[in-house]
Symmetry: C2
Amino acid sequence: MIGPRYTPLAASLPATVPFVGPETQERARGRLFRARLGANESLFGPSPRAVAAMTLAASDVWMYGDPEIHELRAAIAADHGVAPANVTVGEGIDGLLGCLVRLLVAPGDPVVTSDGAYPTFGFHVAGFGGVLHKVPYRGPHEDPEALVDMARKVGAKLVYLANPDNPMGSHHPAATVLAMIEALPPGTLLVLDEAYVELAPEGTAPKIAAEDPRVIRFRTFSKAHGMAGLRVGYAIAAAPLIAAFDKVRNHFGVGRIAQAGALAALADRDWLAEVQTQVALSREGIAAIARGCGLVPLPSATNFVTIDCGGDGTFARAVLKALIDRDIFVRMPFVAPHDRCIRVSCGRAAELDAFAQALPEALAAASAGGGV
Amino acid sequence: MIGPRYTPLAASLPATVPFVGPETQERARGRLFRARLGANESLFGPSPRAVAAMTLAASDVWMYGDPEIHELRAAIAADHGVAPANVTVGEGIDGLLGCLVRLLVAPGDPVVTSDGAYPTFGFHVAGFGGVLHKVPYRGPHEDPEALVDMARKVGAKLVYLANPDNPMGSHHPAATVLAMIEALPPGTLLVLDEAYVELAPEGTAPKIAAEDPRVIRFRTFSKAHGMAGLRVGYAIAAAPLIAAFDKVRNHFGVGRIAQAGALAALADRDWLAEVQTQVALSREGIAAIARGCGLVPLPSATNFVTIDCGGDGTFARAVLKALIDRDIFVRMPFVAPHDRCIRVSCGRAAELDAFAQALPEALAAASAGGGV
């Protein structure tokens, strides 16, 4: 009996998982984490109004969600001053990025990103056979000029920019992004990932005309809205590009609870403001803990703080391991020179206390040779 | 400014939506449906234990779901007597079908299905450039011999069989499916869609060895488990094929509430038994209503009854329209000769009463010339 005949592309792909979940680590360790600070989830939780809406929707879950996602798209459109035809909603930014790449990238097509930027974007590009060209960061920032230069050089169909950036927490002001859009070569689409932008300083999100064909921006309910486990993200772009998503998307993929929760979260501006305040305080707290240990916290426009451990990647990996051994779930950038850092998500007092307790021990353990 | 450069395949695709949701119709009509009997949802609702689990999970939704979906996969594996490595979970059968087609179907690759079978499968095949070869039903049944013959003739990579069948409600006994598997040409994978199988007679689901490389079976929490709006389906197949899904799936796509709800539903055998009882009663009720109007209800192994309206497609479409005009949401098969039928989902007494009231009026209206 012979097995399935995969496409040549599928046969060539590794069974990569872009991220290992903390649950996988907990199962391997046989012990739960004390502080879940590795996945840039919002430990401040979802809006109570969103929880109420999801609870109500749980009993209605026998019904498929509206495949047009009409109410949520209308609310998002109103929030952004665009038309519903400029908005599509999908299973997180991850799911939407997959659709976008599928629409534009055939085997061999060039795509540009930064070396060390969000790996799931690269996962999708590889998954559709695209060729990823990477440019280095400039310090802790993605480098818009280098991205545009590379896009021009290789004729990129897509160029990816996260603003604010993950994993570094840095950001560019709106004017820099607008200048990047103006400099794009013809036929290169800017993939502007704004997953963290609600947590960035005023003036980070550029004003972009709804029908500008040069850019598609992505937002999510996973970060500031505290609903990573709900899987709702959205894209804003020119209507023809948004309509193209209907060619390939999983039309019932955003379910009934997801639509209800996101709609309620979007309406709860007080909760968002509260989270913004708590995140700002928590960033200060993490930075103070880092400084207290003689480390350098990088400025953050997100719900995490990237901390320069002051050594090389080997040292930072040892610190990370020692933190995990102490039941603190954190992650770190994959790529040098950023892999001198660890990345710590904002949390409440309890988690920050646990981190404050573990960090000096972890640094001592790492300095002593990487052991526990 | 030039826009995005789509792939030739994406540019060629229509922006088809396989199904129009009842919400879309309600918005167009400016009026809600009285009875939602068109989408084969379970009007008996989800397990109360699943509702409780989803409610609990709503507050935890700030956390990403486990990307390995470990607990749910383990529970499904135990339920089926296979290993967790034989199980993958995705965003409904729709989402899983999309991944499967992506793994196997490159532009021009042949795929076989029945003319009038589940359109979303065809949507995915077209979406990856596959060529769909269709064979007719034999009466109300999909025709396994014809499917296998066509698969051999065209060298199909995939052949699709829904057992029980949607939209006809018919089923084959397990032995027929097993014979079909034995007859498959080498290198053709059977896509066995068992979305409705929990509602079919004992002996419908065949026993298939976990590592049989010739077949992948799909199940869902959307039908008997009453959670269509949660978006959880699963596939059971040989471990190498299951592992291949990791190459392309949206790893965080099944969220925290979805995993919790499905796990609780799977454990609630009493609720499943109750739904099975209610569905059987409701099928009888729908059949009696149809017979009372002089129509012929087809035998059903699902949570819907397909009713032969006794005329041609034009007449059945007029009946459908007249039912919708009377606020009864039903659907019908798309393809002749099945489009002589309408398809009515099982419901509670209130919905069946509404249908019983509307059907004679709708038939009269259709007979009078298709008007209201």
